[in-house]
Symmetry: C2
Subunit: 304 residues, 2 copies
C-alpha cells in the first residue's frame, strides 16, 4: 500500500520554540512518536530566525507564500528565499515532494490547542474534522482576509496549522510540549486509519469562521490607548455580545463591544499580532455537516 | 523642605512593554499617579530596542553599568553608549541629577510583583522593607553573582528594580499594568511619608538571598535536553527540597533536586535568561531585623 508523504514543520516563527525542541528530541530518539510507517519529512521552517530568537528576519515567513513574492525573481527578503527553498525541497513538485503539510505553532493567546485551516479545501475540512473528533480541538477557518495572505500550508495539496497556547515566546513549557506531542501522535494515528480505510468520520464539523480582525484603540499618533479588558483577556473562543467589555484604558469607561451580532474572538492579545494591528480576530461559530466529497478528497491524498 | 530627585525607568528591556505604556499614558494625563510633589524624571531605558521590539540591540542594557564598560572610551556597543548617556543625563553627577532610581521590569516567570535589590546598601534594604510592609512584596537580594553584573540601579545612591509577572514579552496585559501602577503609586506614598518623617518602618525584612543560578540540563552540543518540571513551572518562591522534581525530559526519570539544603527558586523559566544559561535562581529565605542605620541611610537620601 502506498501512502501520503507528510511534511511536518516547526519553527516557522523563530521565537516559537516548543515544537522545534520536540522535533530535535524526536530526531535523537526516533521511537518518541509512532509514525505508523508514514513517510515523513521534518523540517525547521526558519532556522536562521530561530538561531537569533526572532519571529523572522525580514518578513513573516508564514506570509511569504504569496504567488507574487514566490514568482518574483528579485526579492531580497530572506524569508521569501526560504519559502522558495522549502517549496523546491518539499513542495508538491519539489525534490522530495510531499502532499500533506502540518505546521506547528504556538501562541501567547489562551486558545489551548486548535487547528487552523485556510479556506475551504475539502481535504483540509475533512482532516480538521478528524482532529476535532479525535481530540476535541476547535477549528479556526481563516478566509476572506485580504490583509493576511500567503500562508505556508496553502502551497501543499492538503495542509493545516496547529496552534498551541498560551505560552510566552522563547519559553519551553512542559504543557505546550506535551500538547504538541499529543497532536503529533494523533496526526499519524488519523492518517494511518484513513490509509487503512478504518477511519470513521464524524457527522459534522464545528468551525469558527473568520469574519474580521479588530485593532486596539489608537490615538492620532497610532499609539495604543487601551488594553484588552480583563473580562476578555484569556477568554478566547468565549462569545462576546453587544455591550460586553472589550478594551480598557485609564480615563474612560471600558470600550464596549458594539455589534449586534455575537462573535467568538480568537488570538486575543497574541504578542506577534500587535504589529499587524490585530488585537483579536472575530469568528462565527457554525456547525457544518460533513460532506462525502470532503472524505473522498482526503482519502485520495492519503492513499495516493 | 527639600526632597529626593527620583528617576523612574521603564523599558530598560525593549520587549517589556507594560511599564513603557503606562509611562506614556501618565505623560498624557499627569494626574494618573499622585507624585506627592516629589521631583521626578521619567525615562525610557532603551527606546531604540523598544522601537524594534527587542530586549536589546547589542548587549543587555541592564548589564552595561559595569565600570570597565562605562569607562572604556572605545566600546561600540549601543547599550553601553546609552548607559553613559543615562548617567550623563540623570546620574548623581549628571545634568539633571537624581539620587534615587526605580527600574520597572516584567518577567515571564510567575513571580507576581517583587522587589529586586543588588547588594546590601542600607538605603536599598530600608526602601525594600517599606515596599514589603506596604504591599507585601517579596524581596530578591541579588549578590555575589560574578556572571551577572552591571545593573542600572547600582549607579544611583539608592535604587531598586520592580519585577512584575508573569507576562509574555511584547504583550500589554491588564493585570501587569494595574500592578505596575499600584507599585508606582506606593513608591510616591512611601517616599513622601519618609520625607515627612511619618513613615513607620517594619521590624524586619524577609529577604530571598541569591545563592546561585542553575542551568537546564544540556547535551554535549549545548542543547537543552530537559524542560522545567510541571511541578516547578509557575512555582516561584515555593521551597524546593532534596528529591523534588526539577526538570523533565522524555526518556528519563525526572531530574530531581539533589542538594541537602532547601531553596526558594525565582525567575523560573524566564524567557530572557535561557541565553544566559539560567533556568532558575536559587535563594535562601531569611528574616533580618531592621537596622536603624538602614532607616537613617534612606532618610538622609530622601531628605537630602
Amino acid at each position: 500500500m502506498s501512502g501520503p508523504r507528510l511534511l511536518l514543520i516547526a519553527g516557522t516563527h523563530g521565537n516559537e520554540v516548543n515544537a522545534p525542541w520536540l522535533f530535535k528530541q524526536w530526531s535523537k530518539e526516533s521511537g518518541l512518536i509512532d509514525t505508523y510507517g508514514i513517510e515523513t519529512e521534518r523540517v525547521l521552517g526558519n532556522p536562521e530566525a530561530l538561531s537569533v530568537c526572532k519571529r523572522y528576519l525580514d518578513m513573516d515567513l508564514n506570509r511569504c507564500f504569496r504567488p507574487d513574492l514566490l514568482e518574483s525573481t528579485s526579492s531580497p527578503l530572506r524569508e521569501v528565499l526560504r519559502a522558495r527553498e522549502l517549496l523546491n525541497l518539499y513542495g508538491p513538485r519539489g525534490m522530495s515532494p510531499c502532499n500533506m503539510a502540518i505546521d506547528f505553532h504556538s501562541t501567547t493567546s489562551a486558545m489551548g490547542s486548535s487547528v487552523v485551516i485556510y479556506g475551504r479545501r475539502y481535504c483540509d475540512l475533512a482532516f480538521a474534522a478528524l482532529f476535532q473528533s479525535c481530540l476535541g480541538l476547535p477549528v479556526y477557518l481563516h478566509e476572506g482576509d485580504q490583509a493576511e495572505k500567503g500562508f505556508l500550508v496553502e502551497q501543499w495539496p492538503c495542509g493545516l496549522v496547529i496552534e498551541i497556547g498560551p505560552v510566552p515566546q522563547m519559553v519551553l513549557d512542559c504543557g505546550i510540549i506535551s500538547q504538541t506531542r499529543l497532536v503529533l501522535s494523533a496526526c499519524f494515528e488519523l492518517i494511518a486509519a484513513v490509509r487503512n480505510g478504518r477511519q470513521i468520520f464524524p457527522d459534522c464539523l464545528v468551525v469558527h469562521r473568520h469574519v474580521k480582525s479588530i485593532d486596539f484603540p489608537r490615538d492620532k499618533q497610532g499609539d495604543i490607548t487601551s488594553y484588552i479588558h480583563p473580562e476578555r483577556q484569556g477568554s478566547d473562543w468565549r462569545p462576546i455580545r453587544q455591550g460586553d467589555s472589550l478594551f480598557m484604558g485609564f480615563n474612560d469607561e471600558p470600550v464596549k463591544f458594539d455589534e449586534q451580532d455575537s462573535f467568538s474572538p480568537v488570538f486575543i492579545n497574541e504578542a506577534a499580532y500587535c504589529e499587524k494591528h490585530i488585537a483579536m480576530s472575530l469568528t462565527k461559530r457554525e456547525v457544518w455537516n460533513l460532506d462525502k466529497d470532503w472524505e473522498n478528497s482526503l482519502c485520495s491524498i492519503v492513499c495516493s
